[in-house]
């Protein structure tokens, strides 16, 4: 956990696949390897999920392995909890971020606490897949970024891939984990394509952030749907003479203090970027902990570029809410460059 992980994407001979396809492949491989893996959700059978992430799995593994449940999220997660108590390894799909809220009590009062409650006798090897975030033109309740609720709940791993390779690798790790994982899938990256090497060494483990782009002027700290935004901002920044590094957190819990702090200590400046609302959002924790650990290396306060503190906007207005490269660069420009 100490050395910063700068692992470049393995070169792959394969054709590019979308993130949704990589996730589908991860589910399929996990189901093929371990008969204890059962998928539960709404419309995940014949339909293959509204994002087609479970496409073909009911046909391949049968309806007992990939089950269209009654329409009740607390019931789904509660039943999955009981299945995990029996020894299965359930993977639950919530159809959209906001539709995970009915299951909040089961997640917070049971899934996250069962292992601790029983001193390890009842672990919860359970994955909750939640498509999250905006930018897809969704109407109300279809674009929430709810990761701060899950981060604030002890006992949950909170994971979110930003690349196709991580989508596959982190989902495999999530399903293999003996602890519950909230697996947040950035909706607007579902169709982003990339190659990845199924036979390669795999992606770094949970708890490891990856420096997607080294940089010496300042560090952008981000994850999930905002990684492409930060990479774009870093590209554009070059014109202004800034060499911006970009860290992809990959897992919000556990948090990789070592990698993040090593970078920030080097650059002395950092901006956290995410879609979720700012107030009490993920960036609050990130900024606070980085500042605690790197205070005397900082030339400027850690800034945050986030969604505004408002309910997620209607689709025709969402672009004003979502952090874009311009907003990132505007924050970078406020990093007190005169103080160098």
């Amino acid at each position: 956990m100490t050395a910063p992980a700068r692992i470049p994407a393995a070169p792959s001979p394969r054709a590019p696949v979308s993130m949704a396809q990589a996730l589908n492949r991860a589910l399929r491989d996990a189901m093929a390897e371990d008969p204890a893996v059962h998928l539960l959700g709404e419309d995940i059978g014949a339909l293959g999920g509204v994002f087609r992430v479970t496409d073909g799995l009911a046909a391949e593994f049968g309806e007992d392995r990939c089950t269209d449940t009654p329409l009740a999220e607390a019931g789904i997660l509660g039943a999955a909890t009981g299945m995990a108590m029996y020894g299965l390894r359930p993977v639950v799909e919530m159809q959209f971020d906001a539709f995970a809220y009915p299951a909040f009590e089961q997640l917070v009062s049971h899934v996250s606490r069962m292992r601790n409650r029983t001193r390890g006798a009842l672990p919860m090897p359970l994955t909750v897949r939640i498509p999250y975030g905006g930018g897809i033109g969704g109407v109300e309740h279809h674009s929430d970024s709810s990761e701060s609720y899950y981060m604030a709940t002890p006992g949950l791993h909170v994971v979110t891939p930003a690349t196709v390779a991580d989508a596959y690798g982190l989902l495999r790790q999530a399903i293999a984990s003996d602890d519950p994982v909230v697996f947040l899938e950035p909706k607007r990256l579902y169709w982003a394509k990339d190659t990845f090497d199924l036979d390669g060494p795999g992606v770094p483990p949970f708890g490891r952030a990856v420096v997607r782009r080294p940089g010496s002027s300042a560090t952008l700290i981000t994850y999930g749907p905002s990684l492409p935004v930060c990479l774009e901002a870093a590209d554009a920044a070059r014109a202004e003479g800034w060499d911006l590094g970009v860290i992809d957190l990959r897992t919000l819990v556990p948090f990789d203090d070592a990698t993040v702090c090593a970078e920030v200590r080097r650059t002395g400046r950092a901006v956290v970027v995410h879609e979720a609302t700012g107030f009490a959002g993920p960036g609050a924790e990130i900024a606070a902990r980085v500042t605690e650990r790197c205070f005397h290396h900082l030339a400027a306060p850690v800034l945050r570029v986030t969604g505004y503190d408002i309910p997620y906007p209607p689709p025709l207005l969402e672009r004003h809410h979502l952090p874009d490269a311009d907003r990132v660069l505007e924050a970078v420009s406020r990093l007190q460059w005169d103080l160098v």
Partner: protein, 364 residues
């Protein structure tokens, strides 16, 4: 010792049980002489409703609506719901029920605002007493109960009609709402449009109950099964239940058997989960066809009546096309105006930030 001889508590709630729902759906078409006023009116609204559905779906293809969950095939329920309500009653629709709101009098373009995407609700709910379209399933039902209960507390003799789908009946909120309604004898009617599917999931995977109407039994309220493609029957069942509610008789659960002829929304691929044969069988029971056939059989629909109905429908469609033809006016600053009665200092700062960013963008 019988139950009535048991000490107090156990018998407290044990009033006479309401009758069990009929196993056969309630029908009027073909069983009763037409109402010469109402039935032709229902027909005209069905024709207009169908046209509204096809027009809205067409608007998705032109990028004028972000998404449209069509109620084609379910117009009998939608029209009956819109017409059965008294002017002081309230309607609590789901995302699929814009047509009911339009029949009630709402401007179609305003009803579609959520689905166009310029705001979450395009009308003042008080104007036509139509609650906002509700996206999270069944969550509008406790709202309907609360409003009905508040009215009853204030001796305000309105009734409330809450709409939900067959899938939505599995949610905990359905249970809690019906239970509260029955305990409070709230003046509310729950209409379940059972169209057989929750997106792709068929009813058999949703419930093992003899019928959805049977769910009423567990709350101690009457349950009724109606043919949801028989507009007069749905209208009659709703009118009766609403009158009963207004008179203090408490809530009713009505299950209407119907079918969605279109896909779940324009974004859905219904061929993945249902057969052409099934759709064809239901198309043969199209609520418009049933209604039209019946009216014609009774000499209540002349060719010129049909033509007039279609013309009126075309006028609605044209008005809708027209209303949605331009780009909506958007004021990004509005995003901050309604979060609280008075924006916090932080929201004011953020609004200023957005304004600066917008100006910047215009400059560059």
């Amino acid at each position: 010792m019988t139950v009535s001889e048991l000490p107090a508590h156990a018998t407290a709630a044990r009033e006479a049980a309401p009758p069990l729902p009929d196993q056969e759906p309630y029908r009027l078409l073909g069983t009763r002489a037409p109402d010469p006023e109402l039935w032709p009116r229902l027909h005209r609204e069905l024709v207009r409703g169908r046209r509204y559905n096809t027009q809205a779906t067409a608007l998705t293809r032109q990028g004028r609506l972000a998404v449209y969950p069509s109620s084609a095939g379910q117009e009998a329920c939608q029209v009956a719901a819109g017409l059965a309500l008294g002017p002081r009653d309230w309607l609590f629709p789901s995302y699929r029920d814009t047509l009911a709101a339009v029949v009630r009098g709402l401007d179609p373009a305003a009803a579609l605002t959520l689905l166009r995407g310029d705001w979450h609700t395009g009308y003042d709910p008080h104007t036509h007493r139509v609650a906002p379209l509700c996206t999270p399933l069944a969550t509008q039902l406790p709202h309907a109960v609360g409003l009905a209960h508040a009215a009853r507390l204030r001796r305000d003799d309105l009734a409330v009609l809450a709409l939900v789908g067959d899938g939505g009946t599995s949610e905990g909120d359905f249970h809690e709402a019906l239970n509260f309604a029955a305990v409070w004898r709230a003046p509310v009617v729950f209409l379940v449009q059972n169209n057989g599917y929750a997106i792709s999931v068929p009813l058999a995977k949703q419930t093992a109950a003899p019928s959805i109407a049977h769910k009423a039994v567990g709350y101690g309220m009457p349950g009724r099964l109606v043919d949801g493609n028989d507009a007069p029957a749905v209208h009659d069942a709703l009118t009766g239940a609403l009158a009963r509610a207004r008179a203090g008789g408490g809530p009713t659960l009505i299950e209407a058997l119907t079918y969605r002829l279109d896909a779940h929304t324009n974004a859905d691929d219904a061929t993945r989960y249902r057969t052409d044969a099934e759709v064809a069988a239901w198309r043969a029971r199209d609520p418009l066809t049933l209604m039209e056939r019946e009216l014609r059989a009774h000499g209540l629909l002349a060719d010129e009546d049909a033509a007039a109905a279609h013309e009126a429908a075309e006028r609605t469609a044209a008005a809708l096309r027209e209303a949605l033809s331009g780009d909506p006016e958007l004021t990004p600053g509005d995003l901050f105006s309604h979060v609280f009665a008075t924006p916090t200092p932080q929201l004011d700062e953020q609004r200023a930030h957005l304004d600066r960013a917008a100006r910047q963008r215009e400059l560059s």
